[in-house]
């Protein structure tokens, strides 16, 4: 079984994003970039399926500028067999990404596509569901457990009320939540080996997908700032303040 894992290059999760002074966007110049944490979990899950003998091949794909090849190399170092870079300098929306990925699904025919549930920059939580719709596959979103047997995949999902398990016919789409697994680190020899693994580059505008923007970014602002309050001496003062000053208890 072939597993396709779409990944995204995003701001490192330890870095706090700053808004540009002209309020047109977030400032990413000289900011540390990394693979989206949920995508790392997706790669890890695919590699574990390969190690368990369930998957035969793991293909990583990304859509973005040339620099995103860095994240593809990381995916290869972690154990992906080959990588596909759909190159574009445009800032694409989830719908465009899902349409481009649908083309790759058509080309590669993976039985399983595993994606992160959201990227920590745009926080949209859309791409996996959209890809499932466009390829007419079942979806198991926010997965904390994935079990494959007999042409089906059981996905345990983290939902607001607890955990829900659904069974999907294969081929299917899965999006990862935080507790699906703990991603490994790439070893130095594997990082060296990854340099020789195949990486195919495709121009985004060669895939016949309409990439016209559907959403216009008008402005980006800093959120309302909270100012630090006071440090209280003890519990008695805390309770007193909550009662008489804040009036919340």
């Amino acid at each position: 079984m072939k597993v396709l894992v779409p990944i995204k290059r995003v701001i490192d999760y330890n870095v706090k994003a700053r808004v540009k002074s002209d309020n047109r966007d977030v400032d990413l110049t000289n900011v540390k970039m990394a693979m989206n944490p949920f995508c790392e979990i997706a790669i890890e899950e695919a590699i574990r399926l390969k190690e368990a003998g369930t998957a035969s091949e793991v293909v990583a794909v990304t859509i973005g500028p040339k620099a995103s090849q860095e994240q593809l190399r990381t995916a290869l170092a972690l154990g992906a067999d080959k990588a596909i870079h759909i190159e574009t300098d445009e800032k694409l929306e989830s719908l465009h990404i899902a349409k481009l990925l649908a083309k790759i699904v058509e080309q590669e025919s993976p039985e399983l596509v595993i994606l992160g549930k959201q990227s920590i920059d745009s926080d949209n939580n859309q791409t996996g569901q959209m890809l499932a719709a466009l390829t007419n596959r079942g979806q198991g979103t926010f997965a904390s457990k994935v079990v494959i047997n007999n042409g089906k995949v059981n996905v345990t999902r983290e939902v607001d009320g607890g955990l829900q398990t659904v069974a999907l016919n294969l081929p299917a789409i899965i999006t990862t939540d935080l507790r699906l697994n703990e991603p490994r680190y790439a070893s130095l020899p594997n990082i060296m080996k990854a340099k020789r693994k195949p990486l195919e580059v495709i121009a985004a505008d060669s895939l016949g997908v309409d990439l016209t923007p559907r959403i216009q970014l008008i402005s980006v602002e800093e959120p309302a700032k909270r100012t630090a309050g006071i440090i209280v001496e003890d519990v008695a003062q805390l309770v007193e303040k909550l009662k008489t000053e804040a009036k919340v208890i």
């Binding site: 569901q129 983290e158 009320g161 016919n169 507790r179 559907r214 909270r226 006071i230």
Partner: protein
């Protein structure tokens, strides 16, 4: 121009997110219809019909919709979508699951987790874990939108709207329900509570979360947690507050043994009053706290319970 809101419920009860999402939908400026899809919905339609601003209530009551699986929900919403310019749901795990599927099949973008309605096409939404607020304008003729309920108020009441039953049933064969593990709790729900007390890695283990119980009882509070506490298995996943957990905005949020990582702040920094209890005076949580108590939580939690 008309708006369709998909109600948030668990078959047994209507969730407060529904009313808050209707509040957002009304601000978009067009008549609002509400779809309730589920199984054995009995009294729910009259409840929804009396939420202010609702014109029509559409009820799809069928075992197919019991678990609101994305594939069947999508087919249902698509079958109704023709007459609506705006399709709106809460950004709960249910709404987040099926709405992008609806958007893709309508060939439109989705605007996720709006926190304000500027006009019928323009919305504000947090990005980068809430470190920036984007104002975005939809260029599509149909809008598919999810709403961060904590940013909107509950709607008032009205005399009942018209209720219509929907008979079309679409049972997608792509997926099926297997099981559910529901976390049972007598406490208010995290997203609805006016007071939330959350524990982090500093709690050390699951048993110690009992230290929060007495305080929560006295304050009528819901209990939440940081990701670290959930990952370590102290408490179940549905208690996680943050960028990738639940977003809460209570009157009072008490963070206990939580350092205040960006991702945690993303889920609670819109709370009215924030209290932090942490033994590290440099913990970033103190930068957003109205009242900070630098102390060992094991010492002060019993004191706090007694003082209330």
């Amino acid at each position: 121009m008309k708006t369709l809101v998909i109600a948030e419920h668990d078959n047994g009860a209507l969730k407060p997110e529904t009313s808050k999402t209707i509040n957002a939908a009304v601000k978009m400026g067009f008549p609002v219809d509400v779809l309730i899809a589920g199984n054995s919905l009995s009294a729910m339609s009259s409840q929804v019909a009396s939420i202010e601003g609702v014109a029509n209530v559409l009820v799809a009551d069928n075992s197919v919709y019991e678990h609101q699986l994305a594939e069947s929900m999508t087919d249902l919403v698509l079958s109704l979508s023709d007459t609506y310019s705006h399709i709106v749901a809460s950004a709960t795990t249910t709404g987040k699951n099926f709405m992008p599927r609806v958007a893709a099949l309508l060939d439109v973008a989705q605007i996720s987790e709006i926190i304000a309605v500027v006009d019928a096409d323009t919305f504000k939404r947090p990005i980068y874990a809430g470190n920036a607020i984007a104002t975005v304008k939809s260029l599509d003729s149909k809008k598919v939108i999810t709403v961060r309920a904590s940013s909107f108020d509950l709607q008032g009441e009205q005399s009942a709207a018209v209720v219509t039953n929907i008979d079309t049933v679409s049972d997608s064969q792509l997926s099926s329900f297997v099981s559910v593990e529901q976390t049972e709790s007598e406490r208010p729900e995290l997203t609805a509570a006016t007071v939330v007390i959350s524990g982090g890695r500093g709690m050390q283990n699951g048993e110690n979360f009992a230290l929060l119980n007495g305080i929560a009882d006295k304050l009528g509070a819901a209990i939440g947690a940081s990701r670290a506490a959930v990952d370590a298995g102290f408490v179940p996943n549905d208690m996680q507050v943050g960028q990738t957990g639940k977003i809460v905005a209570p009157n009072l949020y008490i963070a206990v043994g939580i350092s205040g990582a960006i991702q945690h702040l993303a889920g609670m920094k819109d709370s009215k009053v924030i209290v932090a209890i942490n033994k590290d005076p440099d913990a970033p949580i103190f930068q957003v706290a109205d009242y900070g108590l630098v102390a060992d939580l094991f010492e002060v939690l019993p004191q706090l319970e007694n003082a209330l």
